[in-house]
Symmetry: C2
DNA sequence: ATTTCATGCAACCTTAAAGTTGCACTTCCG
DNA sequence: CGGAAGTGCAACTTTAAGGTTGCATGAAAT
């Protein structure tokens, strides 16, 4: 091991910086849910506002209905979609709260980066 | 099969809507890269502006250096981080471009959803 | 010149994700 | 009532992600 100063500093920073408000694990879960082409497609379809059934969401797809069901389950587990039973079919619709939160997290990361650039510039000018 | 109108409409909409500017596959790749707790942590550490070595990024972690190397490789493959050789060590830093693009995509999805809500409200009031 | 530090490379293990198939169970419709 | 439509459940297969270990290599420090 080489417990240099920079390494320790980086670790502590990661633990204390208020970069991410929500649990990092939950946030990674949302990203993981969006990180599959099929699921991302489902989200894009559903963000048009419709409440669609599994059969409808499976149409124009080359995977089976069961596969779509599994993907919807993954999205529901992280709160990206919600489902409601309507007769013999189950309708799915988007729940944008988690997506908004994920977007804000990416925004914070970007701002953090820009702040770091600003400090670097200030340091350079102060020399 | 039941080629109902809504199903077909949903499919066509997914193919034609300008919801996502970049390739949906590439976007899913970025989300997948961020969808791992360890990688998300790396991104958070690096967004502080530093250019850190693998050894530094491995410090205060319960996984091996090789695992960190692999994760950095995944992040680099989607363009989230960049590396530069410095003597006998390799320094990694964030490249916020892809993250910004992912953030914008989430923003578009959210706006799309709100537009859909607006249309629904207008339809309800017109009745 | 040697030793040490930071990595790179490759083989290997384990587990979970993605997908399929087959069958049972409601719900709607004629 | 009987059949078709829409799902749910469970078992199974395949592949790749995440992780480890061991050894080789290039640069640095003594």
């Amino acid at each position: 091991m080489s417990p240099r100063k920079p390494a320790a500093a980086a670790g502590e920073r990661a633990a204390t910086l208020p970069v991410l408000t929500r649990s990092s694990a939950a946030l990674a879960g949302v990203f993981a849910a969006l990180g599959d082409p099929t699921r991302l497609r489902l989200v894009v379809v559903l963000c048009a506002g419709g409440a669609l059934s599994i059969a409808q969401l499976t149409a124009n797809t080359d995977i089976s209905r069961q596969a779509v069901t599994k993907h919807l389950r993954v999205l529901a587990d992280v709160g990206v979609v919600r489902d409601m039973k309507a007769g013999r079919e189950r309708l799915w619709q988007l729940d944008p709260a988690q997506i908004d939160e994920a977007k804000r997290s990416l925004d914070v990361i970007g701002r953090q980066w820009e702040m770091a650039l600003g400090r670097l510039k200030a340091f350079a000018e102060a020399t």
